[in-house]
């Protein structure tokens, strides 16, 4: 060990140790691990069907992450649904519980720049989540290889790693949102509820609201232009949901044949002449969802920037 670790890494180390000693972390990871292994089980039993149905069996391995038998959602859907819970669960009391325990003012009385505290908390949570996600993803890969005997191509491996990284960005967004609430609200319970409310809103109610909007603005005239307008409005509203953005990004990563994310109505001349069902290279796939990816990272950064700004200007008194 280095003799004089920078205070930043001292805080990170303590935070990581705290997570690893807490029941909360094991419960959250336990939930995600169990559900993902459940989905892996159905994927393994369903993959032969998928292989039979599919003309192309390249990239069959990626199906492990996306196939579901209709009863249990796929790995991808589980991460999309439960990832936010992990982020909120680890972040909701980051700042306010330290404030309530009176440890924040003690830490800030040490020669430590104030932003180290919030940065270190973010980095520590992300480290812990990252390790958990990669362990989980690679576990699925490993079990997939053992059970199916499929060979994992390099391209598939890169796609899986990219997918796991994207999941991390997605969870980082929710983590930052939770940290923001922990800065804004003095009570951890309020912060947790606010985070969960937003999570539920986007994962359950938002699609219902979109359906309502769709009904309301359904075009009465049957022209291509009207349908296009309708489709693009809907898509525009859907993309306000981080979960939708994430699903678009992962779709391009895990389905190499997906070559555009909007409806076929919008196909450009160039796209019309593309050969359907031709897998793209990983870079091409990422290019397809590049705007979504940028938006996700931007959302994460915005949340972080607001919490950073608010935290830096807050007056830290003991326990109030």
């Amino acid at each position: 060990m280095r003799k004089n670790a920078s205070p930043f890494w001292v805080i990170v180390r303590k935070e990581v140790a705290d997570y690893l000693h807490s029941w909360r972390f094991y419960i959250l990871v336990g939930i995600i691990m169990l559900t993902c292994l459940g989905s892996l089980y159905t994927a393994l039993s369903g993959i032969s069907k998928a292989a039979a149905a599919d003309v192309r069996i390249e990239f069959l391995f990626l199906r492990l992450f996306t196939v579901s038998d209709g009863n249990i959602p796929s790995f991808m859907e589980f991460i999309m649904f439960l990832g936010p819970l992990l982020g909120i669960g680890l972040g909701f009391d980051a700042i306010n519980s330290e404030r309530n325990k009176g440890t924040l003012s003690r830490t800030l009385a040490q020669p430590v720049p104030r932003d180290y505290v919030i940065n270190a908390k973010f980095v520590a949570s992300l480290l812990v989540i990252g390790v958990a996600f990669f362990a989980l993803g690679l576990l699925v890969v490993g079990m997939g290889i053992i059970v199916t005997g499929l060979e994992l191509s390099f391209e598939e491996f890169i796609r899986i790693i990219a997918y796991l990284l994207m999941s991390l960005v997605y969870v980082a967004f929710w983590l930052n949102l939770a940290i923001l609430f922990s800065v804004l609200f003095k009570q951890p319970a309020t912060a947790a509820l606010a985070g969960i409310a937003i999570w539920l809103f986007f994962s359950i109610f938002y699609s219902m609201i979109l359906n309502l909007i769709a009904d309301a603005i359904m075009p009465s005239e049957e022209s291509l232009a009207a349908y296009r307008r309708f489709e693009s409005t809907l898509l525009f509203f859907s993309r306000f949901s981080p979960a939708f953005l994430f699903s678009e990004v992962t779709t391009t990563l895990l389905y190499p044949t997906v070559n555009r994310l909007n409806s076929a109505l919008f196909a450009t001349e160039q796209e019309i002449f593309m050969i359907p069902d031709t897998p793209l290279s990983i870079w091409q796939s990422m290019l397809v969802s590049w705007p979504q990816l940028t938006a996700m990272i931007a959302l994460t950064l915005i949340c972080f920037a607001i919490s950073y700004y608010v935290f830096m200007r807050q007056e830290i008194r003991s326990r109030n």
Binding site: K14, K101, A109, P111
Partner: protein
């Protein structure tokens, strides 16, 4: 900076002001604290003591005026100040599921102290504050007094030049306060540390302070030792002599009343004592009069000058919290 002379100012506040909207929490405060002294910033709750301390540490910015701590402007260089100043917030919090040594080690690491040195230092300080026996217990199990003592050790681990203690006696019983104040005095003398402590418990705290400042509604009303304080606050105040007697023959009381410089003689029913207000100390005159009348003198004391008046006028009603 290197001089250790008494006149060496460590903390200088000039026109320090903090406003929260309409409310002026600290109002043009001027204060100088010298190296090695124990200064008590005394005032009722809500007087602006904590705000003043936060400004000295750069934890909040002054609206006007400047602070200078160890030759550093805390608003501009808070990190440098925090390297030299130990701060014990009121109601200090520790990580409850870590033990005392782990908590101190965390502070030591944040201060860039190498682990082996930090551990030695933690052991030494825990011994000093009398927590050696409990040092491997979770801090969650500690009593209020133990936490405050751990807080002292936590503040000292970075070997500060100055320690600032915000309401260190809050929530302690009188015995605990006495012990803690003794400990603070002993540590200050032993390690040559300047101490600034704030409190609303005038009586308990002023005894260990070299100087105190009376801080009310954002203003420093008076400073010095307690006598100086009283003289500044109540220049016309009389001397009070309390005594109790086995018998009170009317002739004796009349003689006492008629002593030169005596102003007023009253009977204090609650304490079962007589109280003589006078312009000078008449204790010895009372004693000789009493002996002459063959009455037994149970007690005779000159009341500490003005402390109760200060307390009654500025502090009462706020000590309960």
């Amino acid at each position: 900076m290197t001089s250790t002379m008494m006149a060496d100012p460590v903390i200088t506040l000039t026109g320090l002001t903090k406003r929260y909207g309409e409310l002026t929490a600290v109002d043009h405060l001027n204060l100088t604290i010298h190296r090695g002294e124990i200064f008590g910033l005394l005032g009722p709750n809500g007087a602006g003591k904590s705000t003043t301390i936060l400004m000295m540490l750069g934890l909040t910015e002054p609206t006007e005026g400047t602070a200078n701590v160890c030759g550093i402007d805390p608003t501009r260089q808070p990190i440098l100040v925090k390297r030299k100043v130990g701060y014990l917030p009121d109601d200090v919090g520790f990580y409850e599921d870590m033990n005392a040594v782990e908590n101190l080690m965390y502070t030591a690491r944040l201060n860039g102290i190498p682990d082996d040195q930090g551990r030695r230092e933690a052991d030494r300080l825990l011994e000093l504050v009398g927590l050696s026996d409990a040092k491997h217990k979770r801090v969650g199990t500690y009593s209020r007094g133990m936490r405050q003592r751990l807080g002292l050790a936590d503040v000292l681990i970075k070997r500060p030049e100055v320690i600032i203690l915000d309401e260190p006696t809050l929530g302690l019983d009188p015995e605990g306060i006495k012990e803690l104040m003794e400990l603070i005095r002993q540590l200050s003398r032993q390690e040559g540390i300047t101490v600034l402590l704030s409190s609303h418990q005038l009586h308990q705290v002023q005894e260990v302070c070299d100087r105190v400042g009376l801080f009310v509604k954002g203003k420093l009303l008076a400073q010095g030792d307690v006598n100086a304080l009283a003289q500044q606050l109540f220049p016309d105040e009389k001397v009070k002599i309390r005594f109790s007697l086995s018998d009170t023959p009317e002739q004796l009381m009349q003689q006492i009343r008629e002593l030169p410089d005596a102003v007023d003689l009253e009977y204090d029913r609650n304490a079962d004592e007589w109280v003589l207000q006078a312009n000078t100390d008449l204790s010895s005159d009372i004693a000789s009069l009493v002996v002459g009348h063959n009455v037994r003198l149970y007690s005779l004391k000159q009341e500490k000058f003005g402390l109760d008046e200060i307390y009654l006028r500025y502090f009462q009603g706020s000590e309960a919290s």
